[in-house]
Amino acid sequence: MSETMTIAPEQKAATGNSNKMLFAMVGIGLMCALLIVLTYEGTKPIIAKNKAAALEQAIFKVLPGTMTTAGYYWDGNAFSPLKGTEAEGQRVYAGFSESGTLTGFALPAVGLGYAGEIRVLYGYDPAQEALVGFYVLESKETPGLGDKIEKDPAFLANFEALSVAVGTDGNSLKNEITYAKSGEKQNAWEVDGITGATISSKAVTEALSTSTAEWVPRLYEAKERFKPQTQSHE
Protein backbone atom coordinates (compact mmCIF):
# COMPACT_ATOMS: atom_id res chain seq x y z
CA MET A 1 0.00 0.00 0.00
CA SER A 2 2.55 2.57 1.04
CA GLU A 3 5.53 3.28 -1.15
CA THR A 4 7.95 3.26 1.72
CA MET A 5 7.46 -0.45 1.92
CA THR A 6 8.27 -1.12 -1.72
CA ILE A 7 11.33 1.10 -2.04
CA ALA A 8 14.38 -0.84 -1.09
CA PRO A 9 16.69 1.25 1.07
CA GLU A 10 19.81 0.56 -1.02
CA GLN A 11 18.22 2.23 -4.00
CA LYS A 12 18.62 5.54 -2.20
CA ALA A 13 22.32 5.48 -1.64
CA ALA A 14 24.62 7.73 0.40
CA THR A 15 23.80 10.91 -1.50
CA GLY A 16 20.10 10.55 -0.99
CA ASN A 17 20.47 9.94 2.70
CA SER A 18 20.81 13.47 3.98
CA ASN A 19 18.09 14.56 1.65
CA LYS A 20 15.89 11.95 3.14
CA MET A 21 16.72 13.10 6.63
CA LEU A 22 15.90 16.66 5.78
CA PHE A 23 12.76 15.59 4.05
CA ALA A 24 11.63 13.50 7.01
CA MET A 25 12.32 16.21 9.55
CA VAL A 26 10.61 18.89 7.56
CA GLY A 27 7.70 16.60 6.90
CA ILE A 28 7.26 15.68 10.50
CA GLY A 29 7.80 19.26 11.58
CA LEU A 30 5.12 20.51 9.23
CA MET A 31 2.72 17.85 10.30
CA CYS A 32 3.33 18.61 13.97
CA ALA A 33 2.96 22.32 13.44
CA LEU A 34 -0.26 21.74 11.60
CA LEU A 35 -1.65 19.57 14.37
CA ILE A 36 -0.70 22.07 17.04
CA VAL A 37 -2.05 25.06 15.23
CA LEU A 38 -5.29 23.27 14.51
CA THR A 39 -5.71 22.34 18.15
CA TYR A 40 -4.75 25.79 19.30
CA GLU A 41 -7.19 27.49 17.01
CA GLY A 42 -9.87 24.93 17.79
CA THR A 43 -9.60 25.27 21.54
CA LYS A 44 -8.82 28.97 21.73
CA PRO A 45 -12.40 30.25 21.95
CA ILE A 46 -13.38 27.55 24.44
CA ILE A 47 -10.40 28.25 26.65
CA ALA A 48 -10.95 31.98 26.49
CA LYS A 49 -14.58 31.47 27.44
CA ASN A 50 -13.64 29.14 30.29
CA LYS A 51 -11.13 31.58 31.64
CA ALA A 52 -13.48 34.51 31.42
CA ALA A 53 -16.17 32.50 33.15
CA ALA A 54 -13.80 31.54 35.94
CA LEU A 55 -12.79 35.16 36.40
CA GLU A 56 -16.38 36.34 36.47
CA GLN A 57 -17.25 33.66 38.96
CA ALA A 58 -14.53 34.94 41.24
CA ILE A 59 -15.57 38.56 40.80
CA PHE A 60 -19.18 37.74 41.57
CA LYS A 61 -18.00 36.12 44.75
CA VAL A 62 -16.23 39.20 46.04
CA LEU A 63 -18.74 41.80 44.84
CA PRO A 64 -22.22 40.82 46.01
CA GLY A 65 -25.04 41.82 43.66
CA THR A 66 -22.86 42.10 40.59
CA MET A 67 -24.31 41.19 37.19
CA THR A 68 -21.78 42.53 34.70
CA THR A 69 -18.09 43.28 34.94
CA ALA A 70 -15.62 45.42 33.08
CA GLY A 71 -11.84 45.30 33.17
CA TYR A 72 -9.60 48.34 33.51
CA TYR A 73 -5.98 49.03 34.02
CA TRP A 74 -4.04 51.83 35.64
CA ASP A 75 -1.69 53.52 33.21
CA GLY A 76 -0.05 55.66 35.86
CA ASN A 77 -2.51 58.52 35.67
CA ALA A 78 -5.93 57.18 34.92
CA PHE A 79 -7.96 54.02 34.38
CA SER A 80 -8.50 52.74 30.87
CA PRO A 81 -10.36 49.67 29.64
CA LEU A 82 -8.26 46.51 29.46
CA LYS A 83 -6.59 45.62 26.25
CA GLY A 84 -5.50 42.20 27.46
CA THR A 85 -1.74 42.54 27.54
CA GLU A 86 -1.36 44.35 30.86
CA ALA A 87 0.38 42.77 33.78
CA GLU A 88 -1.86 41.30 36.43
CA GLY A 89 -0.73 43.81 39.01
CA GLN A 90 -2.07 46.65 36.94
CA ARG A 91 -5.59 45.31 36.54
CA VAL A 92 -8.81 46.08 38.29
CA TYR A 93 -12.32 44.89 37.55
CA ALA A 94 -15.39 46.99 38.10
CA GLY A 95 -18.69 45.31 38.85
CA PHE A 96 -22.15 46.64 38.09
CA SER A 97 -25.58 45.63 39.28
CA GLU A 98 -28.50 44.80 37.07
CA SER A 99 -29.48 48.42 37.03
CA GLY A 100 -25.98 49.49 36.00
CA THR A 101 -24.87 50.98 39.28
CA LEU A 102 -21.30 50.37 40.43
CA THR A 103 -21.16 47.52 42.95
CA GLY A 104 -17.44 47.92 43.55
CA PHE A 105 -14.02 46.84 42.35
CA ALA A 106 -12.33 43.48 42.39
CA LEU A 107 -8.54 43.45 42.77
CA PRO A 108 -5.89 40.79 43.13
CA ALA A 109 -3.34 40.87 45.95
CA VAL A 110 -0.37 38.67 46.82
CA GLY A 111 1.21 37.87 50.16
CA LEU A 112 3.96 35.50 51.31
CA GLY A 113 2.43 32.85 53.54
CA TYR A 114 3.70 29.74 55.29
CA ALA A 115 4.25 27.68 52.16
CA GLY A 116 4.73 30.30 49.50
CA GLU A 117 2.66 32.93 47.80
CA ILE A 118 -1.00 33.39 48.61
CA ARG A 119 -2.99 35.01 45.78
CA VAL A 120 -6.31 36.52 46.70
CA LEU A 121 -9.03 38.57 45.02
CA TYR A 122 -10.88 41.09 47.13
CA GLY A 123 -13.86 43.32 46.53
CA TYR A 124 -13.88 47.01 47.43
CA ASP A 125 -17.08 48.98 47.58
CA PRO A 126 -16.42 52.76 47.43
CA ALA A 127 -19.97 53.47 48.54
CA GLN A 128 -19.42 51.73 51.88
CA GLU A 129 -15.72 52.59 51.93
CA ALA A 130 -15.08 49.00 52.92
CA LEU A 131 -13.92 45.63 51.64
CA VAL A 132 -16.99 43.57 50.97
CA GLY A 133 -15.66 40.29 49.68
CA PHE A 134 -12.63 38.04 49.68
CA TYR A 135 -11.63 34.96 47.74
CA VAL A 136 -8.41 32.90 47.69
CA LEU A 137 -7.29 32.38 44.11
CA GLU A 138 -4.24 30.31 44.89
CA SER A 139 -2.52 29.09 48.03
CA LYS A 140 -0.29 26.24 49.07
CA GLU A 141 -0.97 26.69 52.78
CA THR A 142 -1.19 23.58 54.91
CA PRO A 143 -4.53 21.86 54.71
CA GLY A 144 -6.17 21.94 58.11
CA LEU A 145 -4.14 24.93 59.29
CA GLY A 146 -3.28 27.55 56.75
CA ASP A 147 -6.19 26.74 54.48
CA LYS A 148 -8.50 28.10 57.15
CA ILE A 149 -8.05 31.43 55.38
CA GLU A 150 -10.30 29.97 52.70
CA LYS A 151 -12.80 28.21 54.90
CA ASP A 152 -12.91 29.61 58.40
CA PRO A 153 -16.26 31.47 58.63
CA ALA A 154 -14.99 33.70 61.44
CA PHE A 155 -12.03 34.75 59.35
CA LEU A 156 -14.07 35.29 56.21
CA ALA A 157 -16.48 37.40 58.23
CA ASN A 158 -13.66 39.94 58.52
CA PHE A 159 -14.12 40.83 54.89
CA GLU A 160 -17.81 41.42 54.87
CA ALA A 161 -17.21 45.02 55.95
CA LEU A 162 -13.58 45.85 56.53
CA SER A 163 -13.20 49.57 56.78
CA VAL A 164 -10.84 51.25 54.31
CA ALA A 165 -11.95 54.87 54.53
CA VAL A 166 -9.84 57.32 52.57
CA GLY A 167 -8.17 60.00 54.65
CA THR A 168 -8.75 63.72 54.36
CA ASP A 169 -5.71 64.22 52.15
CA GLY A 170 -7.33 61.99 49.56
CA ASN A 171 -4.30 59.85 48.75
CA SER A 172 -3.91 57.66 51.78
CA LEU A 173 -6.11 55.61 54.06
CA LYS A 174 -7.35 56.90 57.38
CA ASN A 175 -6.38 53.62 58.93
CA GLU A 176 -4.43 50.97 57.11
CA ILE A 177 -5.63 47.43 57.57
CA THR A 178 -3.88 45.82 60.51
CA TYR A 179 -3.69 42.41 62.10
CA ALA A 180 -5.17 41.53 65.46
CA LYS A 181 -4.80 38.31 67.39
CA SER A 182 -7.80 36.05 67.30
CA GLY A 183 -10.59 37.51 69.43
CA GLU A 184 -8.81 40.78 70.01
CA LYS A 185 -10.28 42.78 67.13
CA GLN A 186 -11.19 46.26 68.36
CA ASN A 187 -11.62 48.39 65.27
CA ALA A 188 -13.38 48.13 61.96
CA TRP A 189 -10.08 48.16 60.04
CA GLU A 190 -8.55 45.25 61.91
CA VAL A 191 -8.40 41.66 60.68
CA ASP A 192 -9.25 39.12 63.33
CA GLY A 193 -6.54 36.44 62.94
CA ILE A 194 -6.77 32.65 63.15
CA THR A 195 -5.24 30.78 66.05
CA GLY A 196 -2.93 28.13 64.73
CA ALA A 197 -2.64 29.82 61.37
CA THR A 198 -1.10 33.09 62.42
CA ILE A 199 1.34 33.11 59.55
CA SER A 200 -1.26 32.60 56.86
CA SER A 201 -3.76 35.06 58.26
CA LYS A 202 -1.06 37.65 58.78
CA ALA A 203 0.07 37.15 55.19
CA VAL A 204 -3.46 37.79 53.95
CA THR A 205 -3.70 40.89 56.11
CA GLU A 206 -0.44 42.23 54.80
CA ALA A 207 -1.41 41.52 51.20
CA LEU A 208 -4.66 43.42 51.65
CA SER A 209 -3.02 46.20 53.59
CA THR A 210 -0.40 46.87 50.93
CA SER A 211 -2.81 46.58 48.04
CA THR A 212 -5.56 48.75 49.55
CA ALA A 213 -3.11 51.44 50.58
CA GLU A 214 -2.08 51.78 46.96
CA TRP A 215 -5.37 51.31 45.13
CA VAL A 216 -8.23 52.40 47.31
CA PRO A 217 -7.49 56.18 47.26
CA ARG A 218 -7.10 56.02 43.48
CA LEU A 219 -10.32 54.10 42.96
CA TYR A 220 -12.23 56.19 45.43
CA GLU A 221 -11.32 59.33 43.62
CA ALA A 222 -12.23 57.95 40.21
CA LYS A 223 -15.31 56.00 41.25
CA GLU A 224 -17.73 58.26 39.37
CA ARG A 225 -16.09 57.61 36.08
CA PHE A 226 -16.75 53.86 35.91
CA LYS A 227 -19.77 52.92 33.84
CA PRO A 228 -21.01 49.51 32.54
CA GLN A 229 -18.82 48.28 29.67
CA THR A 230 -21.12 49.26 26.78
CA GLN A 231 -20.59 52.94 27.42
CA SER A 232 -17.48 52.66 29.52
CA HIS A 233 -15.09 54.29 27.11
CA GLU A 234 -14.46 57.76 28.33
Binding site: Y114, T142, G144, L145, K181, T195, G196, T198, I199, K202
Partner: protein, 339 residues
Protein backbone atom coordinates in the same frame (compact mmCIF):
# COMPACT_ATOMS: atom_id res chain seq x y z
CA UNK B 1 43.75 -30.09 91.99
CA UNK B 2 42.39 -28.86 88.65
CA UNK B 3 39.02 -30.41 88.47
CA UNK B 4 37.50 -27.99 86.11
CA UNK B 5 38.29 -27.70 82.47
CA UNK B 6 39.69 -24.34 81.58
CA UNK B 7 37.86 -22.01 79.24
CA UNK B 8 39.47 -20.65 76.16
CA UNK B 9 38.66 -17.10 75.20
CA UNK B 10 40.42 -14.71 72.94
CA UNK B 11 42.07 -11.56 74.19
CA UNK B 12 41.29 -9.02 75.45
CA UNK B 13 40.10 -10.81 78.54
CA UNK B 14 39.02 -7.60 80.24
CA UNK B 15 35.86 -5.67 79.38
CA UNK B 16 34.93 -2.17 80.34
CA UNK B 17 31.70 -3.75 81.49
CA UNK B 18 29.07 -1.26 80.38
CA UNK B 19 26.91 -2.94 77.81
CA UNK B 20 24.44 -1.50 75.37
CA UNK B 21 21.38 -2.52 77.35
CA UNK B 22 22.94 -0.93 80.47
CA UNK B 23 23.29 2.32 78.57
CA UNK B 24 19.78 2.20 77.21
CA UNK B 25 18.29 1.37 80.61
CA UNK B 26 20.14 4.25 82.19
CA UNK B 27 18.89 6.64 79.53
CA UNK B 28 15.38 5.68 80.55
CA UNK B 29 16.26 6.36 84.20
CA UNK B 30 17.72 9.69 83.23
CA UNK B 31 14.51 10.70 81.48
CA UNK B 32 12.30 9.73 84.39
CA UNK B 33 12.60 12.97 86.40
CA UNK B 34 11.55 15.03 83.40
CA UNK B 35 8.76 12.54 82.69
CA UNK B 36 7.56 12.69 86.28
CA UNK B 37 7.53 16.46 86.12
CA UNK B 38 5.52 16.31 82.91
CA UNK B 39 2.89 14.20 84.65
CA UNK B 40 2.94 16.57 87.61
CA UNK B 41 2.54 19.65 85.44
CA UNK B 42 -0.02 18.38 82.97
CA UNK B 43 -1.73 15.60 84.88
CA UNK B 44 -3.41 12.41 83.85
CA UNK B 45 -3.46 13.17 80.15
CA UNK B 46 0.32 13.15 79.94
CA UNK B 47 0.55 9.99 82.00
CA UNK B 48 -1.68 8.23 79.50
CA UNK B 49 0.21 9.79 76.62
CA UNK B 50 3.57 8.47 77.83
CA UNK B 51 2.22 5.03 78.61
CA UNK B 52 0.59 4.81 75.19
CA UNK B 53 3.66 5.83 73.27
CA UNK B 54 5.99 3.52 75.20
CA UNK B 55 3.66 0.54 74.98
CA UNK B 56 3.04 1.10 71.28
CA UNK B 57 6.77 1.34 70.58
CA UNK B 58 7.59 -1.85 72.46
CA UNK B 59 4.66 -3.70 70.93
CA UNK B 60 5.62 -2.64 67.41
CA UNK B 61 9.21 -3.70 67.89
CA UNK B 62 8.18 -7.04 69.28
CA UNK B 63 5.68 -7.79 66.54
CA UNK B 64 8.00 -6.71 63.75
CA UNK B 65 10.74 -8.95 65.09
CA UNK B 66 8.33 -11.85 65.34
CA UNK B 67 6.99 -11.22 61.88
CA UNK B 68 10.44 -11.12 60.32
CA UNK B 69 11.53 -14.22 62.16
CA UNK B 70 14.11 -12.49 64.32
CA UNK B 71 14.60 -12.80 68.03
CA UNK B 72 12.66 -10.09 69.81
CA UNK B 73 14.86 -7.14 70.66
CA UNK B 74 12.58 -5.37 73.10
CA UNK B 75 14.75 -6.20 76.07
CA UNK B 76 17.60 -4.02 74.88
CA UNK B 77 15.42 -1.11 76.09
CA UNK B 78 15.99 0.96 72.96
CA UNK B 79 12.36 0.75 71.85
CA UNK B 80 11.31 2.01 75.27
CA UNK B 81 13.56 5.05 74.84
CA UNK B 82 12.11 5.78 71.44
CA UNK B 83 8.56 5.54 72.76
CA UNK B 84 9.20 7.60 75.85
CA UNK B 85 11.05 10.31 73.95
CA UNK B 86 8.32 10.52 71.36
CA UNK B 87 5.75 10.91 74.11
CA UNK B 88 7.80 13.63 75.76
CA UNK B 89 7.93 15.64 72.54
CA UNK B 90 4.17 15.65 71.98
CA UNK B 91 1.73 18.28 73.23
CA UNK B 92 0.19 17.35 76.59
CA UNK B 93 -3.36 16.87 75.35
CA UNK B 94 -2.35 15.09 72.15
CA UNK B 95 -4.87 12.41 71.14
CA UNK B 96 -3.73 8.99 72.31
CA UNK B 97 -4.57 7.32 69.04
CA UNK B 98 -2.27 9.71 67.21
CA UNK B 99 0.51 9.03 69.69
CA UNK B 100 0.00 5.32 69.06
CA UNK B 101 0.29 5.89 65.32
CA UNK B 102 3.41 7.98 65.88
CA UNK B 103 5.11 5.26 67.90
CA UNK B 104 4.32 2.63 65.30
CA UNK B 105 5.77 4.86 62.60
CA UNK B 106 8.83 5.71 64.69
CA UNK B 107 9.71 2.06 65.17
CA UNK B 108 8.54 0.63 61.84
CA UNK B 109 9.65 3.39 59.51
CA UNK B 110 12.33 5.10 61.57
CA UNK B 111 14.08 2.03 62.87
CA UNK B 112 12.99 -1.34 61.54
CA UNK B 113 13.00 -0.41 57.86
CA UNK B 114 16.64 0.60 58.18
CA UNK B 115 17.69 -2.65 59.80
CA UNK B 116 16.84 -2.11 63.44
CA UNK B 117 18.99 -1.01 66.35
CA UNK B 118 22.22 0.54 65.20
CA UNK B 119 21.33 1.10 61.57
CA UNK B 120 18.71 3.83 61.70
CA UNK B 121 20.15 6.84 59.94
CA UNK B 122 17.54 9.17 61.39
CA UNK B 123 16.47 9.50 64.99
CA UNK B 124 13.45 7.17 65.13
CA UNK B 125 11.53 9.17 67.71
CA UNK B 126 11.90 12.29 65.61
CA UNK B 127 10.88 10.48 62.45
CA UNK B 128 7.72 9.55 64.30
CA UNK B 129 7.18 13.10 65.42
CA UNK B 130 7.92 14.58 62.00
CA UNK B 131 5.34 12.33 60.39
CA UNK B 132 2.82 13.24 63.08
CA UNK B 133 3.53 16.92 62.63
CA UNK B 134 2.96 16.67 58.90
CA UNK B 135 -0.07 14.43 59.26
CA UNK B 136 -1.86 16.24 62.05
CA UNK B 137 -0.47 19.78 62.10
CA UNK B 138 -3.45 21.17 63.97
CA UNK B 139 -3.32 18.66 66.80
CA UNK B 140 0.42 18.99 67.24
CA UNK B 141 0.33 22.77 67.49
CA UNK B 142 -2.48 22.93 70.03
CA UNK B 143 -1.03 23.52 73.44
CA UNK B 144 -2.64 22.71 76.73
CA UNK B 145 -1.79 24.97 79.66
CA UNK B 146 0.24 23.62 82.59
CA UNK B 147 -0.90 23.39 86.22
CA UNK B 148 -4.62 23.40 85.53
CA UNK B 149 -6.91 22.76 88.48
CA UNK B 150 -8.14 19.20 88.49
CA UNK B 151 -5.51 17.93 86.09
CA UNK B 152 -5.11 14.74 88.12
CA UNK B 153 -8.75 13.82 87.85
CA UNK B 154 -9.86 15.17 84.48
CA UNK B 155 -8.57 14.06 81.16
CA UNK B 156 -8.39 16.59 78.35
CA UNK B 157 -11.11 15.90 75.81
CA UNK B 158 -8.69 15.82 72.91
CA UNK B 159 -6.65 13.09 74.63
CA UNK B 160 -9.50 10.63 74.31
CA UNK B 161 -10.44 11.46 70.73
CA UNK B 162 -11.76 8.40 68.92
CA UNK B 163 -9.30 6.75 66.56
CA UNK B 164 -9.29 8.33 63.11
CA UNK B 165 -11.53 11.11 64.35
CA UNK B 166 -10.67 14.74 64.66
CA UNK B 167 -10.17 15.75 68.28
CA UNK B 168 -12.16 18.49 69.91
CA UNK B 169 -9.99 20.77 71.95
CA UNK B 170 -10.75 22.15 75.37
CA UNK B 171 -11.42 25.83 75.19
CA UNK B 172 -8.45 26.61 77.38
CA UNK B 173 -5.30 26.40 75.37
CA UNK B 174 -2.04 28.15 75.92
CA UNK B 175 0.64 29.45 73.60
CA UNK B 176 4.19 28.19 74.00
CA UNK B 177 6.82 30.74 74.98
CA UNK B 178 8.34 30.47 71.52
CA UNK B 179 5.16 31.13 69.57
CA UNK B 180 4.25 33.86 72.03
CA UNK B 181 7.54 35.50 71.22
CA UNK B 182 7.45 34.88 67.51
CA UNK B 183 3.89 35.99 66.89
CA UNK B 184 3.20 38.40 69.72
CA UNK B 185 6.66 39.58 70.69
CA UNK B 186 6.25 38.51 74.32
CA UNK B 187 9.27 36.85 75.96
CA UNK B 188 8.66 34.56 78.90
CA UNK B 189 10.48 34.90 82.20
CA UNK B 190 13.75 32.94 82.28
CA UNK B 191 13.17 31.48 85.73
CA UNK B 192 9.75 30.20 84.69
CA UNK B 193 11.38 28.63 81.66
CA UNK B 194 14.09 26.90 83.63
CA UNK B 195 11.63 25.58 86.17
CA UNK B 196 9.08 24.50 83.61
CA UNK B 197 6.23 26.79 84.65
CA UNK B 198 5.22 27.30 81.04
CA UNK B 199 3.26 25.39 78.45
CA UNK B 200 4.79 23.32 75.69
CA UNK B 201 5.39 19.72 74.74
CA UNK B 202 4.93 17.30 77.61
CA UNK B 203 8.56 16.71 78.47
CA UNK B 204 10.31 19.84 77.27
CA UNK B 205 9.21 22.36 79.83
CA UNK B 206 11.46 21.72 82.81
CA UNK B 207 14.94 22.45 81.50
CA UNK B 208 16.60 21.85 84.86
CA UNK B 209 15.46 18.25 85.23
CA UNK B 210 16.52 17.51 81.66
CA UNK B 211 19.97 18.91 82.34
CA UNK B 212 20.11 16.82 85.48
CA UNK B 213 19.39 13.66 83.51
CA UNK B 214 22.07 14.67 81.03
CA UNK B 215 24.64 15.24 83.73
CA UNK B 216 23.89 11.83 85.19
CA UNK B 217 24.51 10.17 81.82
CA UNK B 218 27.63 12.17 81.12
CA UNK B 219 29.01 11.36 84.54
CA UNK B 220 28.44 7.67 83.90
CA UNK B 221 30.13 8.01 80.52
CA UNK B 222 27.00 6.91 78.73
CA UNK B 223 26.55 10.00 76.66
CA UNK B 224 28.80 12.09 74.49
CA UNK B 225 29.03 15.44 76.27
CA UNK B 226 30.38 17.14 73.20
CA UNK B 227 27.01 17.03 71.48
CA UNK B 228 24.85 18.94 73.99
CA UNK B 229 27.68 21.32 74.82
CA UNK B 230 28.38 22.23 71.21
CA UNK B 231 24.69 22.65 70.42
CA UNK B 232 23.93 24.82 73.42
CA UNK B 233 27.08 26.88 73.02
CA UNK B 234 26.33 27.54 69.36
CA UNK B 235 22.77 28.59 70.11
CA UNK B 236 23.93 30.79 72.95
CA UNK B 237 26.63 32.54 70.95
CA UNK B 238 24.61 33.04 67.77
CA UNK B 239 21.46 34.23 69.46
CA UNK B 240 23.60 36.34 71.79
CA UNK B 241 25.05 38.14 68.79
CA UNK B 242 21.63 38.67 67.25
CA UNK B 243 20.19 39.88 70.53
CA UNK B 244 23.06 42.30 70.86
CA UNK B 245 22.43 43.59 67.34
CA UNK B 246 18.72 44.09 67.87
CA UNK B 247 17.31 43.32 71.30
CA UNK B 248 13.76 44.14 70.17
CA UNK B 249 13.51 41.69 67.33
CA UNK B 250 15.62 38.85 68.69
CA UNK B 251 15.12 37.14 72.04
CA UNK B 252 17.84 36.88 74.66
CA UNK B 253 20.21 33.90 74.47
CA UNK B 254 18.99 32.62 77.83
CA UNK B 255 15.44 32.61 76.54
CA UNK B 256 16.64 30.71 73.48
CA UNK B 257 18.41 28.07 75.55
CA UNK B 258 15.60 27.33 77.93
CA UNK B 259 12.59 27.63 75.69
CA UNK B 260 11.03 25.02 73.46
CA UNK B 261 12.51 21.61 72.86
CA UNK B 262 16.12 22.70 72.71
CA UNK B 263 17.18 21.16 76.02
CA UNK B 264 15.31 17.92 75.43
CA UNK B 265 16.66 17.74 71.90
CA UNK B 266 20.23 18.63 72.75
CA UNK B 267 20.46 16.32 75.75
CA UNK B 268 18.43 13.27 74.76
CA UNK B 269 17.82 13.34 71.02
CA UNK B 270 20.82 14.76 69.26
CA UNK B 271 22.88 12.42 71.45
CA UNK B 272 21.37 9.31 69.92
CA UNK B 273 24.69 7.87 68.91
CA UNK B 274 23.30 5.76 66.12
CA UNK B 275 22.41 8.72 63.94
CA UNK B 276 25.27 10.99 64.96
CA UNK B 277 28.85 11.00 63.69
CA UNK B 278 31.54 8.79 65.20
CA UNK B 279 34.59 10.90 65.77
CA UNK B 280 35.05 13.57 68.42
CA UNK B 281 35.61 16.25 65.81
CA UNK B 282 32.66 15.07 63.76
CA UNK B 283 30.38 15.21 66.73
CA UNK B 284 31.30 18.82 67.41
CA UNK B 285 30.61 19.83 63.82
CA UNK B 286 27.30 17.99 64.08
CA UNK B 287 26.43 19.89 67.25
CA UNK B 288 27.34 23.23 65.74
CA UNK B 289 25.23 22.43 62.69
CA UNK B 290 22.22 21.63 64.85
CA UNK B 291 22.69 24.81 66.85
CA UNK B 292 22.96 26.85 63.69
CA UNK B 293 19.84 25.35 62.15
CA UNK B 294 17.87 25.84 65.36
CA UNK B 295 18.77 29.52 65.46
CA UNK B 296 18.06 30.04 61.76
CA UNK B 297 14.69 28.33 61.85
CA UNK B 298 13.62 30.01 65.08
CA UNK B 299 14.71 33.50 64.16
CA UNK B 300 14.00 33.63 60.46
CA UNK B 301 11.86 30.64 59.56
CA UNK B 302 8.12 30.31 59.47
CA UNK B 303 7.97 27.97 62.42
CA UNK B 304 8.46 29.08 66.00
CA UNK B 305 10.53 25.95 66.81
CA UNK B 306 13.06 24.06 64.74
CA UNK B 307 14.87 21.59 67.00
CA UNK B 308 13.27 18.54 65.46
CA UNK B 309 14.03 19.59 61.91
CA UNK B 310 17.54 20.67 62.86
CA UNK B 311 18.34 17.26 64.33
CA UNK B 312 16.81 15.35 61.42
CA UNK B 313 18.73 17.44 58.92
CA UNK B 314 21.95 16.97 60.86
CA UNK B 315 21.24 13.21 60.93
CA UNK B 316 21.09 13.34 57.15
CA UNK B 317 24.39 15.18 56.98
CA UNK B 318 26.13 12.98 59.50
CA UNK B 319 27.49 10.38 57.03
CA UNK B 320 29.22 13.24 55.24
CA UNK B 321 30.56 14.66 58.48
CA UNK B 322 31.79 11.19 59.29
CA UNK B 323 33.63 10.68 56.06
CA UNK B 324 35.08 14.18 56.07
CA UNK B 325 36.30 14.07 59.66
CA UNK B 326 37.78 10.63 60.11
CA UNK B 327 40.83 10.58 62.30
CA UNK B 328 44.14 10.51 60.55
CA UNK B 329 45.40 6.96 60.74
CA UNK B 330 48.56 6.65 62.77
CA UNK B 331 51.67 6.78 60.70
CA UNK B 332 49.98 7.58 57.44
CA UNK B 333 50.20 11.32 56.94
CA UNK B 334 52.91 13.02 54.98
CA UNK B 335 54.62 14.21 58.10
CA UNK B 336 55.16 10.72 59.40
CA UNK B 337 56.43 9.52 56.07
CA UNK B 338 58.75 12.46 55.64
CA UNK B 339 60.64 11.63 58.85
Amino acid sequence: MFKQTLHISTSPHLKLGVSTDDIMRNVVWAMLPASAFAVYAFGLSVFLLLVTSVVAAILTEHLLCRWSGKESTVNDWSAAITGLLLGLTLPPAFPLWMAFVGSVIAIALGKFAFGGLGYNTFNPALVGRAVLQAAFPAAITTWHPAFLEGRFTDIASSTLALPFMEPTYDAVSGATPLSAFKFDGVAADSADLALGLVSGSAGETCALLIVLGGIYLIARNMMNWRIPVSILLTVYVLSGIMHWVDAEAYPSPVFMLFSGGLMLGAVFMATDMVASPLTAKGVVVYGVLIGLLVVVIRLWGGLPEGVMYAILLANAVSPHIDSALQNRVYGTNKKAKAV
